[in-house]
């Protein structure tokens, strides 16, 4: 599904290298977690995969569903089925959720050769998917993320994930800032969306989320590289010992 080989990424503006030879392979239907300390490059990886401007890829390759991902524009990646749940969702003043989703869903469906949804079907789908993460149906008239609480913003990301039916969903710290109830709602939503043809890359700083979304693999990202990979137990170990013991290892590895 996704294969990242020796990925090196620098900030375009000042040339600072953030990702320093990252390798990662995700199979169809698998759930991978990436954990790592703040500033280790988790969001950078998510942004680069999603096609955000401002980064320079100096080395390496990424293939997504057989395509050269790095060749595709961000909107095409999304239509091809790559979804990013933002760590900090962006506000779009005056743009209603329903308008936004209508545009997004129709762009995606057109690209995938699906018939456009009728207004009625779209509304039905919106209602159904919003219920998945306990979002109020009145949300559709509100502007995208504007005035949303922290928890609403995160649930809104999962809601959009459900609407756009991606092949690979990257969740960037979707758990941060959520209380335990909200965390459960989000995790339940995600678990409902797990399927053999949908992979997940769950980025998190804390192990907590992985109690609810149980991953097949856990990777540890430190200093722009994956320094350790294991099963779900690795998350618990990290929780217990912190990142410092690995950081030591990582500095040896460089």
């Amino acid at each position: 599904m996704l294969e990242i080989n020796n990925l090196h990424v620098s900030i375009e503006e000042d040339g600072t290298e953030i990702l320093k030879g990252l390798n990662l392979k995700i199979g169809a239907g698998e759930v991978h977690a990436i954990m790592g300390p703040n500033g280790s490059g988790k969001s950078t990886l998510a942004s680069v995969l999603a096609g955000k401007d401002g980064y320079e890829i100096t080395e390496g390759s990424v293939s997504f569903d057989g395509m050269d991902l790095l060749e595709l524009d961000a909107d095409v990646r999304a239509r091809e089925g790559l979804f990013l749940a933002f760590q900090y969702p962006i506000e779009l003043p005056g743009v209603s959720m329903s308008n936004f989703l209508k545009q997004a869903v129709s762009s995606v469906r057109e690209h995938r050769g699906l018939d456009p949804l009728s207004a009625g079907d779209l509304l039905k789908m919106m209602k159904e998917k919003a219920a998945l993460v306990h979002l109020d149906p009145s949300l559709k008239t509100r502007a995208v993320n504007e005035g949303f609480s922290g928890g609403e913003k995160k649930r809104n990301e999962i809601y959009q994930l459900a609407m756009l039916d991606p092949k690979l969903a990257i969740l960037d710290e979707t758990d941060s800032g959520l209380d335990i109830d909200a965390l459960r709602i989000v995790a339940d939503g995600v678990n409902t969306l797990r399927s053999p043809d949908r992979s997940f890359l769950v980025i998190t700083h804390y192990q907590r989320l992985l109690d609810y979304i149980v991953p097949d693999f856990v990777h540890v990202l430190v200093g722009g590289k994956i320094v350790m990979t294991g099963g779900k137990e690795l998350a618990l170990e990290l929780e217990e010992k912190g990142y410092d013991w690995i950081k030591g290892d990582a500095s040896l590895a460089v």
Binding site: A50, G51, K52, D53, G54, D73, A74, D75, A78, R79, F83, L84, F86, P89, I90, E91, L92, P93, G94, V95, N99, F100, Q103, A104, S107, V108, H111, A143, Q160, L164
Partner: protein, 486 residues
């Protein structure tokens, strides 16, 4: 802003005007040049009464005195090339003056023009009950009749027709709100105005349809000087729509219209405009100069006047639809979206003059600038000494698309009564790279993202427009943003 986004925005900003085409209808022009003869020629052509000719001549003499004392207006944020007033023809009318019962009898060229503009006139008429009075090259060539209007005693006709059929009303109100001495271009308009629209809503009548006029500038080199007069008598209501697009041409054209509105006790007038004159090519050559004087007076108590405008066209726009709040408890509103791109310059805003007691005004202005354009909001809120408890709320937001354009805000306050409460908010934002990326991550193309964001920015203004007009407005904004991409 990232290179890609910036590049796209520049492309958008440089995109060609899509409504450039001519309508080929024979016309009957005044000799080129401006002098007393011209004024007499126009008045005679239009078969006007003596008092109106005299009024025109007074305006002409006033204009001449302004010209001689070189009192041509100058504004901070506009660079206006010298306009050769002797180089234009001041009157042009289609040769025949047919009276049509229905649009089917209208010159197919004209209908074709509307089709290309994407305005299905007949459909609109049929579906939404709009009565369209088409002002094309100064003379109303077609007036669609609606029995509804007659039944209610509503007068809606060309200015010329009003002069013939309702001279008392015209004489009583012409120049009451905008005297010919008001400003340079108002003086010019008063001297040489060719036609326009006239509207009278009798006491207690709620006009059942939206009154709509499409203005077109059509003859090459013809100055267009329309005059609109709207009178809403006690307790009446009317919603008036003015929309315009102009054909492409090579030389700059002067458009100096005057609109006057009077609202008596408890009357309400909603005046909506879509302005889409030809803005010139990417270098700014050939666009329309749009110098308009629009003013309404809330003459009566509890009266209300709302101006809503979407300004996307013209190479230079100078326009301040204003309200004089004379009646107690009267209300003035100004809602504006001004979009500029290429080399366009817009200096627009409003004046709210509070005279009566307990008057209130609201100003919401949204400026969107792209390309190398300059977009300025200029607004005055004046509260006179006797205007107890005046209220004003002003909000001026600017959005920049790209990094070569400018947005400017000039709010002026003149408060002479301490009981006044005045609030002003202003913001300037760039269409964020983050916002565009967020949309793209959902599969939305960059151009669609920009459209969404800009539409969102203008939402509260577009919501003020009558429904079908709002749709047109949104389409127009989309076309403006589209450019060579998408």
């Amino acid at each position: 802003m990232s290179d890609n986004s910036t590049e796209l925005l520049h492309k958008v900003a440089d995109s060609e005007y899509k409504y450039g085409f001519y309508t080929d209808i024979e016309s009957d022009k005044a000799k080129i040049g401006l002098n007393e003869e011209t004024v007499r020629f126009i008045s005679a052509k239009k078969n006007e009464p003596e008092w109106l000719l005299e009024w025109r001549l007074k305006a002409y003499n006033h204009f001449v005195s302004l010209m001689e004392s070189e009192k041509t207006p100058e504004w901070a944020h506009l660079t206006i090339p010298k306009i050769d007033l002797q180089g234009i023809s001041y009157y042009s009318a289609p040769k025949q003056r047919p009276e049509y019962e229905s649009l089917n009898e209208v010159d197919p060229e004209l209908l074709n023009t509307f089709k290309r503009l994407g305005i299905p006139v007949q459909e609109q008429e049929r579906l939404v009950g709009i009565v369209v009075d088409v002002v094309m090259d100064s003379v109303s060539v077609t007036t669609t009749f609606n029995a509804e209007l007659d039944k209610n005693g509503i007068i809606f006709c060309s200015f010329g027709e009003a002069v013939q059929k309702h001279p008392d009303l015209v004489k009583k109100y012409l120049g009451r709100v905008v005297p010919y001495t008001d400003n340079y271009y108002a003086a010019l308009n008063s001297a040489v105005f060719s036609d326009g629209s006239f509207c009278y809503i009798p006491k207690g009548v709620r006009c059942p349809v939206e009154l709509s006029t499409y203005f077109r500038i059509n003859e090459s080199g013809t100055g267009q000087f329309e005059r609109t007069l709207i009178i809403a008598d006690e307790g009446s209501y009317v919603s008036y729509l003015e929309g315009c697009t102009a054909p492409q041409r090579d030389e700059n054209q002067l458009h100096a219209a005057v609109v006057e509105i009077l609202a008596m006790d408890d009357a309400e007038v909603k005046y909506s405009t879509i302005q889409n004159w030809y803005p010139g090519n990417a270098e700014g050559v050939g666009g329309i100069f749009n110098f308009v004087t629009k003013r309404g007076i809330c003459e009566g108590d509890r009266s209300k006047i709302s101006w809503t405008q979407l300004e996307t066209g013209s190479s230079i726009t100078w326009k301040y639809p204003s309200c004089i709040l004379k009646g107690d408890h009267s209300v003035g509103e100004f809602y504006s979206v001004a979009f500029t791109k290429g080399r366009q310059q817009a200096d627009t805003g409003t004046k709210m003059i509070h005279l009566g007691k307990n008057t209130s005004s609201t100003i919401i202005s949204k400026g969107i600038s792209a390309g190398n354009s300059q977009n300025a909001y200029r607004g005055l809120v004046r509260v006179n000494r006797n205007a107890e408890n005046a209220r004003n709320f002003s909000q001026c937001d600017s959005m920049l698309l790209g990094d070569r354009c400018g947005a400017h805000t000039y709010p002026y306050l003149e408060i002479s009564n301490p009981s006044a409460k005045v609030e002003h908010e202003a913001t300037t934002s760039k269409v964020g790279e983050d916002q565009i990326f967020y949309c793209k991550q959902r599969g939305i193309s960059e151009i669609d993202a920009i459209k969404l964001i800009v539409n969102g920015f203008c939402k509260e203004i577009l919501a003020q427009l009558p429904m079908e007009f709002a749709v047109e407005a949104r389409n127009l904004l989309a076309i403006e943003l589209e450019g060579s991409v998408g």
